[in-house]
């Protein structure tokens, strides 16, 4: 997975005259994609877009702080924007000097929290009011499948709200502090959907809340067919849900804090310190980052292991996906002195798959190849077309490196969960390849590995097979 590097890190990006981001380094490209954009594509980070427009409009080089939400965390940095002359595309060059990630709960971004609350209020399927002990005082039902909840409250009023719903993930014992209950997942009687509960405190901010605004927000739109199949999904996914969605949000914040503070100590930004201590701080930060990456993987694991998990089916150009993945990892490859050889951008190779997932798999494969290749070597990405033994048309991407390769015995184990092939360097969770293979299979394809002969470079070759997309039609 992608490094969550919270240290000083410069990223460069170029926009054209219409404020489209035409090229960007890894963190910036990631933020762009997290904000729903593409590279190349319209600059999707609103804060940056505004600054770029300002600089372009004024024709002046500006330097400003910016903060943006990537959907999960608050990203802050310092950006210098240099408008380029007409001859060089008339856009802007963006130089991001600092890149810091704050989990949004930490950022005290009151404004953002208010927006989230407003969004939750607007989409709530049921809302009401709780007293200071979280007992339901009143409930108003908005969506039809919450009506049973409404009648349950009417039948037996005044109980703690968790008595009317079944909490998922963790067996909470009431009374729990409201902060722990805010955002809890639950199921409603008579509804097949997954719901999220919100508790918004009422009363003075410093004191204990005297009452709560209570919202229940469905996670999925109401399905006409009724939520029949979700009941059998529940028991199977409970195990991983416990790790993923229950632990991840709880751990993310303290870990991010550990990393951020360790980085501050390591960089001696708050004052001078003896050399050994900055090294310890570096170790703490690295370990924290490892944990944080692991959490990301666990959250993904939960998604791919959910029985109902299905990938979207859209027409995906593998050449384009490979080039983007390589583009995003370009800086890292450069830092390792590794060249990435890519298919020609004029080629196309269409698969039926989900673009985001294909990109994730390719980034995992190319990222691994970069990590295990000697400096100065080459990583080759190629696309292939062919048929499987039943005659169905297949397309594939291979990623080959010039590293130590894999033995047959290793190839058998490499896609296992938590398999790290004896590596003990503190990198990786051993989940990346497992998740990638699950993703490939969910898209109707597969992910395999083979060893190359010495002539071919002697490294490993990972092959992502996907069903082909009949030309012209998008699956």
């Amino acid at each position: 997975m992608i490094d969550r590097d919270d240290t000083l890190l410069a990223a460069r990006g170029l926009t054209d005259r219409d404020d489209r981001l035409v090229n960007a380094d890894e963190p910036l490209a990631e933020l762009q994609i997290a904000c729903g954009g593409k590279v190349p594509g319209m600059l999707a980070v609103p804060e940056l877009l505004e600054l770029v427009r300002q600089a372009r409009g004024m024709g002046l080089r500006i330097a400003r702080e910016f903060g943006a939400h990537d959907g999960e965390d608050l990203v802050t940095g310092f950006v210098r924007i240099h408008p380029r002359p007409e001859g060089e595309g008339a856009g802007c060059e963006m130089l991001v000097e600092n890149w810091q990630r704050h989990p949004h709960a930490l950022s005290a971004a009151g404004e953002y929290a208010e927006q989230l609350d407003a969004a939750d209020r607007a989409t709530a399927g049921a809302s009401g009011r709780l007293d200071g002990q979280q007992r339901v005082q009143l409930v108003e039902v908005g969506s039809p499948d919450a009506s049973e909840l409404g009648s349950a409250v009417a039948r037996d009023p005044g109980r703690v709200w968790t008595d009317y719903v079944s909490l998922q993930d963790v067996s909470h014992h009431q009374p729990l502090h409201w902060r722990l209950m805010d955002g809890a997942r639950c199921l409603l009687p008579g509804s097949g959907r997954h719901w999220r509960a919100r508790l918004l405190p009422l009363g003075p901010a410093s004191a204990a809340p005297v009452a709560f605004e209570w919202l229940l927000i469905p996670d999925e739109p109401l399905d006409d067919a009724g939520g029949g199949d979700s009941e059998e999904e529940q028991p199977a996914s409970l195990r991983t849900r416990l790790i993923g969605s229950a632990l991840t949000p709880v751990l993310r914040q303290p870990i991010a804090r550990i990393i951020a503070n360790a980085e501050t100590i390591r960089a001696r930004l708050a004052g001078p310190l003896r050399e050994e201590y900055t090294q310890y701080a570096g170790t703490i930060a690295a370990a924290g980052q490892h944990l944080s990456g692991m959490l990301d993987d666990l959250a993904d694991l939960e998604v791919v292991e959910a029985p109902g998990f299905r990938a979207a089916r859209e027409k995906v150009d593998l050449v384009d996906a490979a080039r983007r993945a390589a583009g995003i990892l370009g800086v890292r490859a450069q830092a390792h002195g590794i060249a990435i050889e890519l298919p020609d951008e004029r080629e196309t190779c269409h698969a039926t798959a989900e673009f985001r997932r294909v990109l994730q798999v390719l980034m995992n494969l190319i990222g691994n190849a970069i990590a295990y290749s000697p400096a100065g070597s080459r990583v080759t990405v190629r696309t292939h077309e062919g048929e499987d033994h039943e005659g169905a048309r297949l397309v594939a991407v291979t990623v080959s490196d010039e590293g130590p390769g894999v033995t047959e015995e290793q190839a058998l184990r490499i896609f296992d969960k938590f398999e790290r092939l004896g590596r003990d360097n503190g990198e990786g969770s051993g989940l990346g390849l497992y998740i990638s293979r699950q993703l490939a299979r969910a898209m109707g394809g597969d992910l395999t590995v083979a060893a190359q002969t010495v002539d071919e470079g002697g490294g490993a070759v990972f092959r992502l097979d996907l069903p082909a997309c009949s030309n012209g039609k998008s699956g």
């Binding site: 919270d6 000083l8 300002q54 600089a55 004024m58 024709g59 002046l60 080089r61 500006i62 330097a63 400003r64 702080e65 802050t76 940095g77 310092f78 210098r80 240099h82 000097e97 600092n98 810091q100 005290a108 009151g110 901010a205 410093s206 951020a260 503070n261 980085e263 501050t264 960089a267 001696r268 930004l269 708050a270 004052g271 001078p272 900055t278």
Partner: protein
């Protein structure tokens, strides 16, 4: 020039216009008396506006005007060669025009206030206005990028203190929006003066040589941003010095730097206390900072009971404009 018209009626018009302008200027002075007097009467101790500050602001605006007029000259040579470069009346006219732009005036005032405060802190608590202990540490950082940035900041801060002593304000030090405002004044002034305006090339050259990131404000902001979580260390006035302190306070409380500087004046104690609280300092730390800045002022103890985001919200609602921006 317009006055060169030979017809009698033409002269009448220009004389009339001159008189009208003079009258308008008189009106402005009269309008200004009440607020200024009221301010002077109301402030005990250090007024926010003093002779020293007024003199500084005037000097800075004149310096701006002088630089702009000088930027015109290379273009004027040949067709409009002028015997007397930057005639005093031209400087004064452009200076007055700049002073009429509240945006420009406000920023000049804040800079004058900052250097005034820095001098006071140096006298009273021997806080070095240029090189603070924190800046020294950042210069010694083992990250070359930070050390370099800190060095550049040191140079810029030293230039700032120097130019404040000379009552100068280099164009390159203005924030981008202000540079644009100044350029607009310049263009309008030139159009009114000789109907032609400033040659495009002169404006382009000025814009091209500008880089906000290399200005003192830009460098300070970049340095504070580079400190990341450590930026809180810059809220220690004695440790950080006023320049870094103000930038860090602005960044941590999401205000403009100008507002953060103004908050350091003794008459703005509530603003400063709220800003400290918004940045997450506790009551004890806030009191310690006030002891350094304004020993005479007591901080209400209840400040510690206001939640930081509440303090932030109160601050955000305050107008906090040095002068009304009538743009």
């Amino acid at each position: 020039m317009a006055q060169a018209a030979t017809s009698i009626s033409g002269e009448d018009i220009s004389v009339e216009r001159l008189l009208k302008e003079e009258l308008a200027r008189g009106d402005r002075s009269l309008r200004g008396i009440a607020p200024v007097l009221a301010h002077m009467l109301a402030s005990h101790g250090n007024a926010m506006v003093s002779d020293a500050i007024v003199a500084r602001v005037r000097g800075m605006l004149e310096h701006l005007a002088r630089q702009l007029l000088a930027a015109e000259r290379p273009e004027m040579q040949g067709s409009h060669a002028r015997a007397n470069p930057e005639p005093a009346e031209a400087v004064e006219a452009l200076g007055a025009r700049l002073a009429a732009d509240h945006f420009v005036l406000g920023h000049s005032y804040v800079l004058a206030m900052e250097s005034h405060l820095a001098e006071r802190l140096e006298r009273r608590t021997s806080i070095d206005p240029v090189l603070s202990p924190l800046l020294q540490e950042l210069i010694a950082s083992e990250k070359p990028a930070i050390a370099e940035l800190a060095m550049a900041t040191l140079a810029a801060q030293s230039r700032f203190i120097q130019s404040q002593r000379r009552m100068d304000m280099p164009l390159a030090e203005l924030p981008a929006e202000l540079l644009l405002a100044v350029i607009e004044c310049w263009q309008n002034g030139a159009r009114d003066r000789d109907g032609e305006g400033v040659p495009e090339t002169a404006v382009d050259r000025l814009k091209q040589s500008y880089d906000e990131g290399a200005s003192r404000g830009g460098l300070l902001a970049r340095l504070v941003s580079a400190m990341g979580n450590g930026a809180v260390a810059a809220l220690e006035l004695e440790h950080a010095g006023l320049a870094l302190f103000a930038t860090a306070l602005a960044s941590l409380t999401r205000q403009s730097r100008d507002n953060a500087v103004v908050a350091c004046h003794e008459s703005q104690a509530a603003r400063l206390a709220l800003a400290f609280r918004a940045a997450g300092l506790d009551a004890e730390a806030i009191e310690r900072q006030f002891l350094v800045l304004e020993p005479g002022i007591s901080v209400p103890e209840v400040i510690g009971e206001i939640a930081p985001d509440r303090a932030q919200a109160i601050l955000a609602r305050s107008e906090a404009r040095v002068v009304d921006i009538e743009r």
